[in-house]
Chain length 141, copies 2
Amino acid sequence: MTVSRKRKSSGEDAVRRLRAAGLRPTRQRGALVELLGSGHRHLSAESLHQEAQQAGIGVSLATIYNTLHQFTEAGLLREVVVGAGRSYFDTNTGDHQHFYCEDDGSLIDIEGEAIAVAGVPAPPKGMAVDRVDVVVRVKRA
Amino acid sequence: MTVSRKRKSSGEDAVRRLRAAGLRPTRQRGALVELLGSGHRHLSAESLHQEAQQAGIGVSLATIYNTLHQFTEAGLLREVVVGAGRSYFDTNTGDHQHFYCEDDGSLIDIEGEAIAVAGVPAPPKGMAVDRVDVVVRVKRA
DNA sequence: CAATCAGTTTGGAATCATTCCAAACTGATT
DNA sequence: AATCAGTTTGGAATGATTCCAAACTGATTG
Ligand SMILES: [Mn+2]
Ligand SMILES: [Mn+2]
Ligand SMILES: [Zn+2]
Ligand SMILES: [Zn+2]
């Protein structure tokens, strides 16, 4: 019964999350929110698109891109750029950094409490620091 | 006189640098080495191509890409990836990091002695840290 | 100097992720 | 049910980069 109760509410939950983010709860957005669902994940537009297809959700790739960006602006996701033409969307929006393996393109979280960047100079006049990104590039030993 | 002496040797100097890097000193590579020349610079393939054209050097864009990558492998340049589809080649190969302004796409050096990253965990089994890149993203205040 | 050949250059086609666009659709409101 | 701003979508367009096969050229050899 716990299960069925949760099942029933998951759709409503997605709707709540979308409304809270100021986004109209459409079929596509609801389905994507649920796919992002639980746990921390690093996903590309393409991988999310494939997941959606497999889940039997009809969503165009264009909408995937639109939605990922809207979610990012709304603070539900964080975009992580690791290489030219290679960016991931991270469901972990908290303070953390990444290991990036160029060999297989994988990303691994580094907890924010563990890592620290010290000595960042004041930004140039008229500029403000938006974010400090650390990418630890690793290779097969 | 100092000037003329330097002028004369600059071509030979480029040849020396190329040979030292294990690259055959061709007309194109020699010209590009001289364009990179003195001082620290952040350049894109496209910007270097335009510079070459202006300097009256006939070099195809494909060769620019080939050469930039060869120079990078040879340690004469360092590639800095700041965003999807946006990478720069840096003539400063020493230890340093960057401010990146998304508004105008500019890069500014942060001296390596100034900035420090602490607490990087051991990389996953079988992986070795290749490099730690820090990008301080700034925006117009 | 001429022949030779691996290394290099090149224009143009091909990739690939992402963005753009105009037309069709749909959630919310009246 | 009518309305309309917000959304979605297939397909074209972009833009940086890579690929390719043919032409070229620096270095070596006889
Ligand atoms: Mn995580
Ligand atoms: Mn510099
Ligand atoms: Zn992450
Ligand atoms: Zn630099």
